[in-house]
Subunit: 392 residues, 2 copies
């Protein structure tokens, strides 16, 4: 009789927030970037995607459930990932007849985030990293994270960086086939474990331009973008890697802030202009500047992705200065951990800045540098092949 067994593998994957930004594709189909980028992987205790990949000849067709609802699997990017994974599995099967023919079975992929999608945090990076890692585990592929990053990159560019923990670089590469455009670990989380991130979630009046279309508008129309690619980013990558190696926070912070500014400047120089930061985002910039001025040294760094949320990096040893500035001001918003609630006001912010933040920050997320994808025996698919939920 036919093998109707349900094969399963589960993994969790992290979110990453770039400190040298990815913005611009040289090849939209393969997701090949115009420039290298570097990110910090955030702790999965606070932000993670859990994905179970399962396959069975009893399944009718490939299916994806995201946070409980059916999701489209037919997109070119998802298909590219599944095609790559299946072909690698098929290669193993053809070399070892004893292996079950998983590559021929329909897949059931079930995925859940432990954070509100409403937060507008780039969940696609964690999502594609988890999908690729879980399916690679299901298929028992002998692939390294860097090899898998080549696959995840085709799903979502920044997803390639979520296959590692700690400090991760995505080398832009130069080959047309993209085989040298992959993620590498710059340093593990254990090298600089005291890196923290406070995320100020800012409710945007309206969703901005999607990053996929936005970055290509920038490539096509910004007169200043060329210099970012030719000079600014290469210099930022070099300085950032040295700062991480030396655990030099002041340098890490300066490059992080300058690169975020440079990225948003090229957005503003796009025609028509793209605005991701709003007045609340700008208030967060002023708040970080005030904190550093009060401290007399650089203890905090802001960075903004393709949205108004502020991600503020700082070191554990300086938490009182940073959390003591924002907790008293924003204590009515969700997301604070007890560790923050002990602090009295450390830095008084300008009234206009404080008012903008109070009015515009809808929740906070306290997290820090963390580990990469982790195999787990928590399954979102039962042994009988039925979708489960961690919430149920």
């Amino acid at each position: 009789m036919a093998d109707t067994k349900v094969y399963r593998a589960s993994t969790t994957a992290p979110v990453n927030i770039a400190v040298v930004k990815y913005w611009g594709k040289r090849d939209p189909k393969l997701n090949l970037p115009t420039n290298s980028s570097l990110s910090v992987t955030l702790s999965q205790d606070d932000l993670r995607t859990l994905t179970t990949a399962s396959c069975s000849s009893a399944y009718k067709e490939d299916t994806l459930l995201l946070n409980g609802s059916p999701s489209d699997l037919t997109g070119a990017r998802t298909q590219a990932c599944l095609r790559e994974l299946r072909s690698r599995r098929a290669a193993l099967e053809s070399n070892d007849a004893s292996l079950p023919k998983l590559s021929t079975m329909p897949l059931l992929l079930v995925s859940e985030n432990n954070f509100p999608t409403a937060a507008g945090l780039a969940s696609s990076a964690a999502g594609f990293a988890a999908l690729v890692r879980a399916t690679a585990d299901l298929y028992e592929l002998p692939a390294s994270p860097t090899e898998l990053s080549l696959i995840a990159r085709q799903g979502s560019g920044s997803a390639c960086r979520s296959l590692f923990g700690g400090y991760v670089a995505w080398r832009h590469g130069s080959q047309a086939d993209g085989l040298d455009s992959k993620a590498v670990e710059v340093a593990p989380a254990s090298h600089w474990p005291t890196m923290r991130a406070l995320i100020l979630v800012v409710s945007a009046a309206k969703k901005g331009v999607s990053s996929t279309s936005g970055m290509q508008q920038t490539v096509a129309t910004s007169g200043l973008f060329k210099q970012r690619i030719a000079d600014v980013v290469p210099a930022n990558m070099e300085t950032m890697e040295a700062a991480i190696a030396a655990k030099d926070f002041a340098k890490f912070a300066e490059v992080t802030m300058r690169d975020s500014n440079s990225f948003h400047a090229t957005c503003a120089d796009t025609y028509p202009p793209i605005f991701y930061m709003n007045d609340v985002s700008r208030a967060a910039v002023r708040a970080v500047e005030a904190i550093n001025a009060a401290a007399g040294r650089t203890v905090a760094a802001y960075t903004f992705d393709a949205g108004p949320n502020a991600v503020i990096y700082y070191l554990e040893e300086d938490k009182e200065t940073i959390l003591g500035t924002f907790y008293p001001l924003l204590q009515d918003t969700d997301g604070w951990k007890d560790g923050a609630k002990v602090f009295k006001t450390s830095v008084e912010l300008d009234e206009a800045v404080a008012g903008q933040l109070k009015a515009g920050v809808s929740r906070v997320i306290m997290t820090g540098v963390g580990e990469g994808p982790t195999k787990t025996d928590v399954y979102l698919v039962s042994e009988e092949g039925k979708p489960l939920s961690t919430e149920s």
Copy 2:
């Protein structure tokens, strides 16, 4: 007995709003710019400075009254202008003994704007242009507007463009002495008289960085600024001059909007970043985009100086589309002329955009292209040498 006669000359001078922006000095002392710029001179019916320059041996010392209050004359920039003007007068006197020795007499300079300084419109351009033009008239200097632009430039860079009406270029020049960094008329107002400007005055929460210090921070710290100077501005100047020659509004508008975006992008790329535009400014950008989309062609162009105010250029023939969008929305704000009040809503704006504008625009100014400085017999100094006011 000594000559105690009071010598007087009065002139009015206009405001100008650049469509290719001046941002960056290669020589702060001489106000020599890193790039050429181009502006439209606005009508003095709506925005002008009236200045009477007078001198008399009966005066004790050089005095400047601005809008009724004593103002500092000792600043290096004002002193540079007065020194240059006096030395030219002294040269005339030394060649003709019959001329009264005005160059040796103390000056009484009295100046008034016909617009609220609160509006945050660059009044220094009109102010220095009027001061230089009135004093040159007082001294009966045979200097052309371009020659006087060399003097006014040392008072305030953009002031050199306010010595002409119509469409005016400031050539950056290359000489160390700045003698080739001057303003020239690209086209008189009569060449393209239907150019209109609607200014949306936006109340800024707080005054931003002064342009004088801001532009030098940009020169020193922006990684993207070099490309603006090397490539972006030279191309914009060339396209803009061709657009004005051909009265091609669509091209004029595109360069105006792109150059404003490029300028504010280099501000955002400054470290620490400089933000002049706020969420209300950005709403004005979206409104102009919506107007052009609804019209199916480019009928409006936004530009922003070193502040949140939006200046919207359009042609008289398209006034119904532009004024019909903003008047119904902002009819409760001051500054509308009767000509606008006849229009019903022409373009419905997105709710968020409309809300931002309603909440953030404090007044409007309806104006258009206009003439340069004009001699007048309205005096702000009496024949007896007493300060007068047009308001008294």
